[in-house]
Point group: D2
Chain length 336, copies 4
């Protein structure tokens, strides 16, 4: 951490600041220039709050040199994290495909979708039982009944299931779920993150609508700091001013987060674009950019879906896209 001191600060004030900083068990190093003095901190600055330093009257500006996350940091964990779920791996070289409906609606809908996505080559089944909807008057998900249908479908098809938790109080219902998803709106629900950190389930953590990549990593750190290192990061589009797509897919997150963290990286082209016809090209782009997994919405009857129909693929569309995705995956792995 580097701290630039204001011109007018007295030596006493600078010394007092340095003493305070050394209380965090870091070494300080003062450089005196013609117009400014700079304090460099040496050691582990993770526990020092940049805002608290900034609040000191004599501080002109502060810059953190080292990242404020440790357990999610590739610097300290050079090898890729690979997460195993019922014999399938996320991360570490193969491309996982998570597919299924936005919401679990009926047993028939879920089972038919599961069978279709499995045949098309999906590795995991997704489906929402608890749905975060903008309107209280919209369908809120089947809740426990949805969880039960997912488990039943998993048991019949063998596809591990991924489903979203919305609140700590529901955590017991997720005991038999394979991968617990934290949605974009809950990325900074820290109570929930801590509770999931005490679980041993893989957590699929979605980037918030306006979260920076560093904030996403800090939210992963919340889970990991409680003991659960099985975190999967998901870019699902960020909010911008562009109205043509629901969100703007920030695909550069894949190679950039790859440098910063060892955690697996998922792209959700369905929520990122909100447009059915953009899902395939953005899936292919994600594979070329090096994503570890895709999460794609598929519905047997999008026009009658209870939520998010506009971005869902039909089973036929998904099958056609999967053929291209798998071909490209193989090419990328063997030829590039």
């Amino acid at each position: 951490m580097i701290i630039v001191i204001k011109d007018k600060a007295t030596d006493n004030q600078v010394n007092e600041l340095m003493n305070w900083l050394e209380g965090f068990r870091v070494k300080t190093n003062l450089v005196t220039g013609v117009h400014s003095r700079i304090i460099g901190l040496i050691g582990d600055t993770t526990s020092i709050d940049v805002d608290a330093v900034n609040a000191r009257e004599i501080v002109e500006t502060v810059k953190r040199v080292q990242e404020p996350y440790k357990k999610a940091n590739r610097r300290f964990h050079p090898d890729d994290t690979v997460i195993e779920v019922r014999g399938r791996k996320i991360g570490g070289g193969s491309l996982s495909v998570i597919a299924g409906p936005c919401s679990v609606e009926t047993e028939d809908q879920l089972m038919r979708t599961a069978i279709a996505v499995k045949e098309a080559g999906a590795d995991f089944l997704r489906g929402g039982a608890f749905k975060p909807r903008t309107s209280p008057y919209a369908f809120q998900g089947l809740g426990k009944e949805g969880i039960d249908l997912l488990i039943k479908t998993r048991n019949e098809t063998g596809l591990p299931i991924v489903t979203e938790i919305m609140d700590v109080s529901d955590i017991d219902l997720f005991a038999d779920i394979d991968v617990i998803q934290v949605g974009a709106r809950n990325m900074q629900n820290f109570t929930l993150l801590k509770a999931l950190g005490r679980s041993d389930k893989p957590i699929l953590l979605k980037r918030g609508l306006s979260a920076t990549m560093q904030e996403l990593l800090m939210s992963a750190e919340y889970i990991m700091s409680e003991g659960n290192s099985k975190v999967i990061l998901c870019e699902r589009g960020i909010r911008t001013y562009e109205p043509e797509t629901r969100n703007t897919l920030d695909l550069s997150a894949v190679p950039l987060l790859r440098q910063k963290t060892h955690l697996p990286l998922v792209i959700d082209p369905s929520h990122a674009t909100g447009v059915n016809s953009l899902v395939e090209p953005m899936s292919l782009a994600a594979v070329a950019a090096g994503a570890d997994a895709l999460e794609i919405e598929v519905h047997i009857d999008p026009k009658n879906a209870w939520s998010d129909g506009a971005q869902s693929l039909t089973p036929e569309q998904f099958k056609a896209s999967m053929e291209k995705i798998r071909k490209l995956e193989k090419f990328v792995k063997t030829e590039l």
Copy 2:
């Protein structure tokens, strides 16, 4: 709601769509032009999901004409909502000032701050016991102990207290709190909103970092649809690309939300700007724009604050600002 049909749709498809729509108990009205057909819906379209309509293959585009919120809508509740808390009113003409530290740190810190802000003319005491922090290694708040200190300070000073809830599971701890705050990161924590909707406490709901005004109103609707109509809306800055301020204060939210809703409107200049020296001018601007209340961070010793020191006022600064704020309030009420 207006639905534009694609050119190529057949009459059968259009009829099927109209039948489906009438299932929501609205009337449909088909207009046939040279190049396009339009369906107009008449009646209460609140329960119709725009995305679901968009997902229909033959739909070119959909436009909602009426707002999707009812209980928060000024159209149906023309009179301003005024919320009474221990004899003080929020909304309805007078300016309420909520002041206090970002975090409750110690009994001494809280009590001294409370006495100072009361003397300067604040109406409510704020202070965080549960703190949503980006880093798991930062101070997370005193929790229950903080709640107890707030209550003790309220009982001694008479200032009603405003403090943030982070999770449904903590709700019992807030039984003796006067106003429960929902932070920006929890604005779409729908489980929490519904639970607070079943409480009878006033809820101060902060706009999310990238929430639209309509989404803020929909979150208020979540609370109100469960029976609690005591909702106070707070603009606290939105996330933009500008690095000089922590967030960008969207002050136009005051007159715009005033047109759309009857709920009281609070401005938080401290979080919106993140800069101590901008708090006073933005407070004055908020009063001139017609805000019902201000929420301002004050700390007896900002440079040693455990969180958010850079944006906190000292008691002396707050006192000086309050003199201007109260003068301006009186002028605005009597002269403009």
Copy 3:
């Protein structure tokens, strides 16, 4: 400027970098810590390109400590700039009001509007002769004829005129204009800025739709570095994701730019909000925040305006707003 060196850099590489930096006539100061080395630069770093430093292989990160603008910088010019135009002043304590139609349409329209805004207390007449329109099929302005009508109206009413230039090639047409406006879309049209820097006219420079405050100051610096110090800065809303308003008015720009620069600051509530009914409350807020001037669109017949009718005030509305604005101005100047 502070430069953090990567761990793996050799001493030779660091020395080479320091030699290169000293070529810019600054002193370098190397600090060696346990994990990192830092170079501090002392002297005038304005001519050093941060990107160029960042491009050096051994550089981890760079931070500029001093602002990259000089002539626009309050640090070097503590006194407020006051710009005189035909006996009227912009900056320095009084509030100037610039009012008039978006576009000059006809002699009658312009003259009637000018008379109305003058009677209501406006100090300057605005009106566009060259109009930057998103669509090539929209009205593009009257061009030279519009300039002539503005001059004629100025000569009859005495109101100095403010109008927008879109290209260097038109500059001769502006010889008799009082204040030349540079629109948001041209804020980084550097060829135009340099040419205006060689003029002696006051320049009203509008912030770009997604320009940072520092970029706005750098564009002012372009004009000033060529010799013209009569620059007026205008905040007119920035582009965000919020759809209710045309742009988001960043009113914190007033107190923040006040700290950073000595140039006068104008707020344009008409373009910032795009909504007629928000113009008055945002004007009052701007006055309370300390703006030096307001630029407000007024049209004698908004519903038939050739451009921007939705945000224009009628003369009656403008008159009513001006009464409040002038009352508030007086109050702010004498009482706060």
Copy 4:
């Protein structure tokens, strides 16, 4: 275009509005519901300004159904535009690669870079002679001398040249340039766009930092409406709140613009990310998403580049990336 009328409008007002609309030579169609009336317009609404309609007092809301651009619209020009430049094609199936330095610095630098990128398989040479720089104190480009060096290098290597124009007044200097680039900051410099529309050169038009896709298409329409249909669109990153990358690459623009327009689509991963190590993965992603061309910055000595060194590839890096890019191009064309 669909116009929703406010409840309170009188029949006279509605009739007056319909008469006014019919003056634009469109047919009007009034639908009367219980709570609202809707006017549907039939015919070519391109010349009707949405804002002007919105400004009418009785108008609740307006929605444009048809796009406001014609010449750039795939609806009216279903076949892809293919632009030929000295025997090379942009658009129509093959991938073009435009490579070279950010700025032309010296004859040696340009020639060596040109030879290197040609050997690595680039189709075009890029290089800036006129440089839009944020700071007036930064290197502004060699101007005419740079243009001369580009032409000399083109003549020796055979690589067609792409370079940026900053102002109409320079247009004569571009008489022997192969492709004229319009930078992001000039995307809405309408005077420049119109002048280029009267040229017969291919124009590479970059999306503005906060321009919507529709605004980009409208700027293309400016050029095309003057007669020049050789427009190439370039996505180069948009401005968001994310600090890790210079801009956020909106790669979904490729498949989305493909649906909306017949013009060729270029991706510039260098400016979009600003980070050397992200250029290759984003280039591969762009190819997988279906881009027609890439524009990549290459410098023989990035650490001493006069501008944008941090994002430039070395010739060796570019060669290695080109091998992957060409392999992927072939795979995508033949296998997907």
